[in-house]
């Protein structure tokens, strides 16, 4: 019966609803370019959500730990074998996402008798300048959103990943207003924390919420959460002497930047 086109569409719609429900409690992740690199930041209490993929690529993920792990391993394997057989310069985030991860995730999502990936991913690839940084979000159904490429006039210098589409949009609206090019790490950490606060507020409210909370509400929620959760952050360094650009920031290091 699932072979009938209508049933299939219905099954996919149900499945989308199921996945969205499963993902609806994730803590948001903000990634943004600053002068000396790309910052990934989230707040959390238990498990790691920001990972090193290759020399110039990092990943943030929300979803089921098992699924995140499979996708993370796949990405690392593909990047590592490519970097070994050709060169590190041939490892490209665009290819990794478009030709490897997206088709597999779409396939898993549409094979309605199998399990979909319960995960959303956000990637960042460091470039020589902030204008050349690439951000890319891959959804559980294989859909890809980038920060602008292929001649798009406006290129965003950030990417967000949140539990719901509504809170994603709120975070992007917030960053579109408050993001400044060529920030210092200190300013970037502040901007990312506020964006996280917006996303977290948006996620905990009802789904209908489309209004950006006011400045005080954002700051209040941020400080409340900072009191009980740890900052998880990592930087892809723009001008590191070594080929490996990924550096995790400790909670202490991130908090010292807020002082």
């Amino acid at each position: 019966m699932i072979e009938e086109p209508y049933r299939w569409v219905e099954a996919i719609a149900n499945r989308r609803e199921y996945v969205e429900t499963q993902l609806s409690s994730g803590s948001p992740i903000a990634a943004l370019s600053f002068r000396d690199g790309i910052l990934f930041l989230t707040l959390g209490r238990n498990r790691q959500k920001i990972f090193e993929i290759y020399d110039r690529i990092a990943m943030g993920a929300i979803g089921h730990p098992g699924d995140i792990e499979r996708l993370r391993m796949a990405a690392i394997e593909l990047a590592s074998t490519e970097g070994f057989t050709r060169s590190a310069a041939d490892v490209s985030l665009r290819r990794l996402a478009h030709y490897s991860l997206s088709p597999v995730m779409k396939n898993a999502f549409e094979q309605v008798y199998g399990a979909p990936f319960l995960a959303r991913l956000v990637f960042g690839e460091i470039g020589p300048t902030p204008d050349e940084d690439l951000f890319l979000r891959v959804e559980y159904d294989g859909a890809i959103a980038t920060n602008g490429s292929g001649g798009a006039p406006v290129r965003q210098h950030f990417a967000v990943l949140s539990a719901t589409t509504a809170s994603n949009e709120l975070m992007e609206t917030f960053l579109r207003d408050s993001y400044k090019i060529d920030m210092e790490l200190r300013e970037a950490v502040r901007a990312a924390l506020d964006a996280w606060s917006v996303g977290h507020l948006g996620g905990t409210r009802s789904n209908g919420e489309k209004q950006l909370p006011d400045r005080d509400a954002i700051a209040k929620h941020r400080d409340e959460q900072l009191a009980t959760a740890g900052i998880e952050a990592a930087v892809l360094e723009r001008n590191a002497s070594s080929a490996i650009r990924y550096r995790a920031l400790t909670d202490e290091e991130a908090r010292s930047l807020l002082a």
């Binding site: 990972f51 090193e52 499979r70 391993m73 394997e77 074998t81 070994f84 057989t85 070594s242 490996i244």
Partner: protein, 274 residues
């Protein structure tokens, strides 16, 4: 598409495998070479193979110093006089090679990717013992080539162990993969007998033991030792100041790897060797 999905499924089970195993699964690295029966004429004996170069390493006050000459030979011919035999594997590890360059560089490449692959997948740095063992395993896998008379590699591995008792560590290997931790110094390659004599002498009866030398003194001894090796060993290149060919000298310390610039080597050479 179906094949892709299947390929991805393997990843979930693959998290425990090391990088060479991953490369072999994907057909990107040869299987461990078979050991041929020498009695049936498998090739020249491993004993007759030379590892034509000189590599030395010793601990000094600033960590470990690793130095190598620049000459690459094939039989009696000098093929290349700017070979770099001291290779950086990660931020704190150096591998210096004596032996067949093709095999050695490939090993260094596999090793470099192995350490990074481990850190990225397992979310922790590989321990020094794990790294030492990884090189040992690559050498063991290469044994078939060694027995056939091609591909012998005898490396030195220097690293800085950042554990609860931070210290510089130095290892040398034989061609079969046995690893030995060196207390003070190690040397490998065809010019190494002379170097070993010098380092032994300096360590016991020199002005001060090797481990107490400052950087300039350490560089000076490394240059003198390499020059001595080049005096009698045709496969070891000396210092060619007209062509500005200097040995490669690198140090490993708590802060990572430093490559000594040529002018610094030239200066020390001028003051204490020439």
């Amino acid at each position: 598409m179906e094949q892709r999905a299947m390929a991805l499924d393997q990843f979930s089970l693959g998290s425990g495998e090391d990088f060479p195993a991953l490369l072999r699964r994907k057909g990107l690295l040869g299987q461990p070479t078979a050991i041929v029966d020498l009695a049936r004429g498998g090739g020249s004996s491993a004993m007759t193979q030379t590892e034509s170069t000189t590599i030395l390493a010793f601990k000094f006050s600033g960590g470990v110093l690793v130095a190598g000459d620049r000459r690459a030979t094939s039989g009696h011919t000098v093929v290349y006089d700017r070979a770099d035999k001291v290779l950086e594997i990660d931020r704190h590890s150096l591998m210096a090679i004596a032996g067949v360059p093709a095999t050695a560089w490939e090993m260094a490449r596999v090793l470099e990717h192995s350490f990074q692959y481990f850190r990225r997948t397992q979310l922790q740095e590989m321990s020094v013992d794990g790294k030492v063992r990884a090189l040992s395993k690559l050498l063991r896998d290469n044994l078939g080539f060694v027995m056939q008379g091609v591909g012998v590699v005898v490396p030195i591995f220097a690293t800085y162990d950042g554990n609860s008792h931070p210290e510089a560590r130095l290892y040398f290997y034989d061609a079969m993969g046995a690893q030995f931790e060196a207390a003070d110094y190690a040397a490998t390659g065809s010019g190494s007998p002379a170097v070993r004599g010098i380092l032994y002498y300096e360590n016991n009866w020199g002005a001060k033991p090797l481990k107490d030398l400052n950087e300039d003194e350490a560089v000076s001894i490394a240059l003198r030792a390499l020059n001595t090796a080049a005096e009698t060993d045709t496969a070891t290149g000396g210092i060619d100041r007209t062509a500005k060919i200097f040995p490669v000298i690198k140090t490993v310390s708590r802060d990572g790897i430093t490559t000594l610039p040529n002018d610094k080597i030239d200066k020390v050479y001028n003051e204490s060797v020439a």
